[in-house]
Symmetry: C3
Subunit: 268 residues, 3 copies
C-alpha cells in the first residue's frame, strides 16, 4: 500500500497497476547506476518500472560480478533488463550474434533490443536477428528509426519494419529518440513533438499499443499521455525521473492534473 | 567543524549558520531520492538544508514504510519536510482536506505547502486552507504564482495574497518557478531573471525576507544572492546542487567569489 | 574482467587501460557525492577514472570526517583527488597558500589545481604557486582560460602559460570550460566546439597530450575523440556520465561506433 492511498484518489484514470504489464510500459534508460542507486530506484519505484535498459554498450564496461549482482536485483523487482541496441549492432557486425545471445542469457538478461540505429540491417538479416532472439526465449523489443537525423528512413519502410517485427514475435517496437530526445525521430531540435511525424507513424500501425515511444523529456511525456492516455508505453526515461513520470501518468503533477480536470476524469 | 575551517575564510559574508533559520532558507526539491541517496544528501549537506519538499504528488507513490523511514531521516537532520503543493490542491478538490492534514501529521510531515498553481482557490478558501494548517501545528509555506504562464496573476492580487497569507501565520511565501525555472514567474524562457517582474513583486512586500524564491538554475541563484545577499531564501534547489548553492552563498565559487571581491566583503 | 570481454571487441581502438595513465586521462567533476554514491561510482567506473575534482570550494563545506573518508575511498581506487582551483585562488588571495598546501596534504589530497579563472595571477606569482605545489609533492594540474568570456586571454599569453607551467613540472594543463561547457573557452553558447579557437590553442603547444580539455557535454567529447583519438584527456566529466564517456572512447556508443566504422578501425 502506498502512503496516501487512504486519503487521495489519483486524479487521472486508466493506469494499470499490475506487472507484468502489456500496456503502460515504462522503460528506464540506465547509464551506469551502481548497486546502492539501483537498490534506491527499485525499492522506491520498482512497481512503476517494467524494464531497465543498460544503455548503448555500457554493460560491456561493468566488472562481471557487479553486472550480475545488478541484473539479479532488477529481476528480483520483477523488471525486464536488457543491453542497449548498440551492443547488439556491434555483435552482429563482429559476427558473434549467437555468442551474444548465449552470453546475454548467462549474464541474466531477460530481453533483447534489436536496433539498426547506427548500422544498416538488411531486411533478411533483421528478420533473422529478431527470430533467433525470440527463439532463444528472450522478450524482444525491436527499434525503428535512426540516431542520425540525416539518415531518417521513409515512413513506408518504418511501417513495414513494424509489421514485420511484430509478425516475428517482437513484444513491442520502440521508436528511436536517443537519450537526448532532441532533433531525432518525432522530436524537433528543442525536444518538442512534431505531431505530423507522429501521426504518420501511428497511421500505419494497427495497434498503437504495439509501440513504445522513447520520450526522455517531460513535455514529450505530457503530450503522449494526453494523446494516448495514462497507459501509453514510454521509454528512455531517466532514472531520476521515474517517480515524476508516474506522477504524470496518474495526474499527481500539475501538467496532467490539469488534463484530468479538463477531460472530466477527475474523481473529486 | 568543516574540513578547511582552520585555513580558509569564506569570502562572502552574511550567511547564517544556525538552524532553524528564519533567513537564508534553502528548500530542496526532491523528485524521489531513495534511502541511500537521502542519507548521502543529509550527511554531507544536512547543515545547509532547511526543508525537503517531496515534490508534486510524488509522496503518494511511495510505499508507506519507505516514506516513513525517509521522513524520519530528514527530521533527524533537523530539516522540515513536506509534500508538494499539488497534492494539497488535489486534496482540496477531492474534499478531503481535513483527512489530508491528519494523514500528513501521521506520516511525520512537519510543514505544508499551500498553493493554487494548477487549481483556483477563492480567497475565502485560501484563507481557510492556510488557517487550518497553521492551527494543526504545521509550518505553512504558501505559494503565489501559476504554473502556466498564460494564467499569470495580476501583481496587485499577488501582493494581497502575500499579505493575507502572512497575516494568517504563513512562515514564508514562495514564488512559483516550477522545477524547470524557465518561462514561469520571474524567469523568461531561457531561465534568465526578468528584473522588472521581480522588482514589482518586491515593491509590494514589506519584508523581502518573507519570500522564498524558487530558483533551480545557477544564474538565478547568483542574481538573487547578488541582489538580496547570502541569506536570500531559495527553493526548488535540485538535490545534487545543494553543496554548489552553498558554495555560491559563501563565495566559494567563481561567480560569487567575484562578487565578494567586487563588493569589498573580501576578507583576504 | 568485464562482462562481455569473451564476446565483444571494443570497436574503437587506442584506449589505454592501465592506470596510472599519462594519456587518456578522465577527470570527474564532483559537486558533492556522498559516500554511497562515491562507492557506486568507484566500484563501477573506478577503472575509467583518473582523477576526481571536488569542484570549486565545495570541499570546504564537508564535515571533516566525511571528507577524509571520501578521499580515502577515492585513493583506494587508485584515482587522484584534488580541490577545485577556486579554493586555491581564495587561499592565495587570503595569503594562506602554505597552510593550504599543508592542509591539503593532511586531508589526503594527491593533486592540486592551479588556476586563475576568477582572480589575476601575475606571472611571477603563478610560477611560485606552481613550483611550491610541485615541491610539496603534489601532482599539479594547472589551468588556462577565464570563467568569464569577457576576460578571455590572448592566445599568445595562453601559449606562454602552458609552456611555463609545463617547464615548472605541471603534470597537465587543463583548458577551462566550467561545469556548464557553454559560452566559455573553445565552446560557444550552445556548447558547440569553436574549431578555430581550438586550432589556435593546439598550434602553440608542442605536445597535445599535455592538455586536458574540460568537456562536460557529449557532442564535445565526441568531437575531441574524433579529433585526437580515444585517449584524449578530458575533464569536468559529470559523475553520472563516466560510463557513457568510456563507451564513447571505445566505440560502444552510436556516435563513435559510427566513427569506428568510418575510419576503418572496426575489428569485426
Amino acid at each position: 500500500l502506498n502512503a496516501w492511498d487512504s486519503v487521495i484518489t489519483p486524479p487521472l484514470a486508466g493506469r494499470s497497476s499490475a506487472k507484468p504489464r502489456s500496456t503502460g510500459y515504462t522503460m528506464v534508460l540506465d547509464k551506469g547506476l551502481g548497486l546502492h542507486a539501483t537498490d534506491d530506484l527499485l525499492s522506491l519505484a520498482g512497481a512503476y518500472i517494467d524494464a531497465v535498459k543498460l544503455t548503448f554498450g555500457t554493460s560491456a564496461l561493468y566488472p562481471e560480478a557487479l553486472l550480475r549482482a545488478k541484473i539479479e536485483r532488477i529481476r528480483a523487482a520483477n523488471c525486464d533488463v536488457y543491453p542497449g541496441g548498440t551492443l547488439l549492432e556491434i555483435a552482429v557486425i563482429q559476427g558473434v550474434y549467437d555468442q551474444y545471445l548465449r552470453r546475454a542469457r548467462e549474464l541474466g538478461f531477460t530481453a533483447i533490443e534489436v536496433s539498426d540505429g547506427t548500422i544498416e540491417l538488411a531486411v533478411a538479416l533483421r528478420r533473422e536477428v529478431i527470430s533467433r532472439a525470440v527463439d532463444a526465449g528472450f522478450k524482444v523489443i525491436s527499434e525503428v528509426g535512426k540516431k542520425d537525423p540525416k539518415e531518417e528512413i521513409a515512413i513506408g519502410l518504418m511501417h513495414e519494419e513494424i509489421a514485420l517485427d511484430r509478425s516475428l514475435g517482437a513484444f513491442k517496437v520502440i521508436v528511436e529518440a536517443r537519450e537526448s530526445g532532441r532533433g531525432v525521430g518525432i522530436f524537433d531540435a528543442a525536444g518538442n513533438v512534431e505531431v505530423d511525424e507522429l501521426d504518420q507513424i501511428v497511421k500505419g500501425v494497427d495497434d498503437p499499443n504495439a509501440l513504445i515511444w522513447e520520450a526522455p523529456i517531460k513535455n514529450q511525456q505530457v503530450y503522449l499521455i494526453g494523446r494516448f492516455g495514462s497507459d501509453v508505453n514510454l521509454g528512455n526515461i531517466p532514472t531520476d525521473e521515474v517517480i515524476a513520470l508516474e506522477a504524470l501518468r496518474v495526474g499527481l503533477r500539475g501538467d496532467t492534473l490539469k488534463l484530468a480536470l479538463k477531460i472530466g476524469t477527475w474523481k473529486g
